[in-house]
């Protein structure tokens, strides 16, 4: 177990190293930080002097090592716009984004399993054909379009749901505010969650269906039938458990990807999360914030994938984490 964990951690560190390198390389190419700091009224000599003081004339390696050293101590630079440490700015926005991702994940998990299983068991039924048709539509329409359409239909035309913001939130601990404590909070998070889920849900329905259909052809499912086992037990115990093994792996990657998709959803719904913040940072060329965002998202990605691998080991009896690692 320890060896396996250690191996995973080393891999994660390597991935984070590459991400930090890419993020830092971007920093040097996103306009001139000095212009953002001092504007245009400062003379060229003072600019050069400031450059030296800020270390902008050092070699790439020296600058990167300084950046990495600070990053390891939790200092990802200071946002030009907020005049606060970039990490603090992001962490304040993080709960809103994580709650949105959580809402979308609930929708995906809650619907993809029953829909995927149904379309696998009854591939020829009319309902299955409708579900599969809609899933193609869902995958094909970009998130921002889905989001705008939903706002138009459900907020503007029918007025069922609010069209922007988080609504009433409740402080849980620290600066974590939650949407799930008030009815108004729930109303606000429903549309953005659906919009965010709109791409992943069809993907998962199709994935589960394909895996399930393959599993249903297997010898052990045939054997379970030959033992006279109830079909529901065959579908949900014998087949589904085997179906979900590959789905878990893909799912971990997709949850990470979903954090990135929040940029579009949050922008359309004016959701005060880090995706929305990122887009604003790009507009303001707030380089330290952009870099910090890339690193935080990369970190979330790496952590979720590591956790998913561990879960996979727990669910799949042929993977023995306790003995793995060599």
């Amino acid at each position: 177990m320890f060896a396996y964990l250690a191996k995973r951690v080393i891999q994660a560190v390597a991935v984070m190293f590459v991400i930090s390198l890419i993020a830092f390389a971007i920093q040097g190419n996103l306009g001139d930080p000095l212009r953002e700091l001092v504007g245009q009224s400062v003379s060229e000599e003072v600019r050069q002097q400031l450059r030296d003081e800020l270390g902008l004339n050092d070699s790439f390696l020296t600058q990167y090592l300084r950046f990495a050293g600070n990053a390891l101590q939790g200092d990802l630079g200071t946002s030009y716009f907020f005049k606060e440490p970039a990490l603090d700015v992001i962490l304040k926005k993080l709960p809103a984004t994580l709650e949105l991702v959580f809402g979308a994940t609930l929708i995906i998990v809650g619907f993809s399993v029953p829909l995927g299983v149904y379309t696998a068991i009854k591939p020829d039924s009319i309902l299955s054909r409708i579900i599969m048709g809609l899933s193609i539509v869902g995958i094909s329409i970009p998130v921002f379009l889905t989001a705008i359409l939903m706002i138009f239909v459900f907020s503007v035309e029918y007025g069922w749901f609010p069209s922007y913001g988080r609504g009433d939130t409740v402080h849980v601990w620290g600066y974590w505010e939650t949407n799930f404590a008030t009815a108004d909070g729930w109303m606000h998070i429903i549309l953005p969650s659906i919009a965010l889920a709109s791409i992943m849900l069809p993907l998962f329905v199709r994935l589960i269906r394909a895996e399930m259909m393959e599993v249903l052809q297997s010898e052990y499912v045939k054997y379970a039938k030959a033992k006279g086992i109830n079909p529901w037990r065959i579908y949900f115990v014998h087949a589904l458990k085997n179906t979900l093994l590959p789905v878990i792996t893909v799912g971990g990657v997709q949850i990470g990807t979903m954090v990135a998709y929040t940029i579009l959803t949050e922008t359309v719904f004016q959701w005060p999360g880090m995706g929305f913040m990122f887009l604003e940072a790009v507009n303001r060329v707030d380089t330290p914030l952009i870099v910090a965002y890339l690193i935080v998202v990369g970190f979330i990605f790496v952590v979720t994938n590591t956790i998913v691998d561990l879960i996979y080991g727990l669910v799949n009896p042929t993977v023995n984490i306790a003995r793995m690692g060599a």
Binding site: Y220, A226, K227, G228, R233, L245, P317
Partner: protein, 331 residues
């Protein structure tokens, strides 16, 4: 009354552009506790026969017509509930490859206990105790520990023993074993066969053994069916079939056994291959490979006739045997 009585069973496969006949009007009986072998080349319809008996054909295969009377009740007409009650309970099946038969994510215990609880009103603990007893019967060491293990932790031979134990869990009247040792090591094959024979005899269980191994058939069964291209071409007591086969195809099979060949000589094989289901020749399906074939063989499907000690479907069986008699007389 016989335990199992199959009458004119016809199984078809609905392919995209045509429907092919996989079993063509086969009929046979099985008495209580009797052991029957079904032999033939791959694709002859042996396994399809086995699955049909449980009404377990999966698409695109289906039973087109005929009856499968099990204790007088027609399996073909049973509804899903009756079928579930039949499968695993009164009629059990042993699959070909133990490496893929057991569910990889469920423990041996879960897979045994669910079978018991699907058919009997038992507590989990009672079911567990029965599972342990049955594992002992198939000589599995420390059965309590095995119940907690997953299939991948056990060897192929061990898994097939467990599958035999599962087949015996509910004391069925009939076990259908579809090439139960084909996927196993040669040294383990004999053990498994011996075990099955012992358990069938001591529990008075009927056995249908599907195999292409004539040696196994002669050792395990009392009666044998020889199948070719979806039909039974010869049937009778195993001893007669092995020692005095009447159909040219059965004769070819027996002659192809390594024991029938002088060491150092080439094995005697039957020329050609069995036809695919979509291209079964007119008349006797074996005629292109048969050196005795006549125009009649190429135009009409032979009736099954009683000849000597066996039932055989061959137009030329009489001529063939008188030829042999003549050869013997000359020798």
């Amino acid at each position: 009354m016989s335990l199992l009585s199959v009458r004119d069973l016809t199984v078809k496969f609905a392919m995209r552009d045509q429907t092919v006949t996989a079993l063509n009007g086969i009929s046979f009986d099985l008495a209580k506790g009797e052991r029957l072998g079904i032999v033939g080349e791959s694709g002859a319809g042996k396994s399809i026969t086995g699955f049909s008996l449980m009404n377990l054909l999966s698409r695109p295969g289906y039973i087109d017509s005929g009856q499968i009377l099990f204790n007088g009740e027609d399996v073909v007409q049973m509804n899903d509930k009756r079928l579930r009650n039949l499968r695993g309970n009164r009629m059990a099946m042993i699959f070909q490859d133990p490496m893929v038969t057991l569910n990889p994510v469920l423990t041996i215990g879960q897979q045994m206990i669910e079978t018991l609880m699907a058919h009997r009103k038992l507590s989990r603990e009672e079911a567990r105790q029965i599972a342990i007893v049955k594992l002992r019967e198939v000589y599995i060491p420390s059965p309590e520990e095995r119940l907690e293990q997953y299939p991948h932790e056990l060897s192929g031979g061990m898994r097939q023993r467990i599958i035999i134990a599962i087949a015996l869990l509910l004391d069925p009247q009939l076990i259908i074993a579809d090439e139960p040792t084909t996927a196993l090591d040669v040294t383990i094959q004999a053990d498994i066969m011996e075990l099955m024979l012992e358990l069938c005899q001591s529990n008075q269980v009927g056995l249908i053994l599907i195999t292409h191994d004539l040696g196994v058939v002669s050792q395990m069964t009392e009666r044998t069916l020889v199948m070719y291209a979806g039909r039974i071409i010869e049937s009778g007591r195993t001893r007669e079939i092995i020692n005095d086969p009447q159909h040219p195809y059965t004769q070819g099979l027996i002659n192809a056994l390594p024991q029938q060949t002088v060491p150092g000589q080439r094995l005697k094989q039957i020329p050609g291959n069995m036809p695919g289901l979509a291209s079964i020749p007119a008349g006797c399906a074996f005629n292109p490979r048969c050196k005795y074939a006549t125009d009649l063989c190429r135009s009409r499907v032979p009736e099954t006739v009683h000849y000597g000690e066996v039932e055989v479907a061959c137009h030329e069986v009489q001529r063939l045997n008188s030829d042999e008699d003549r050869q013997e007389a000359r020798a």
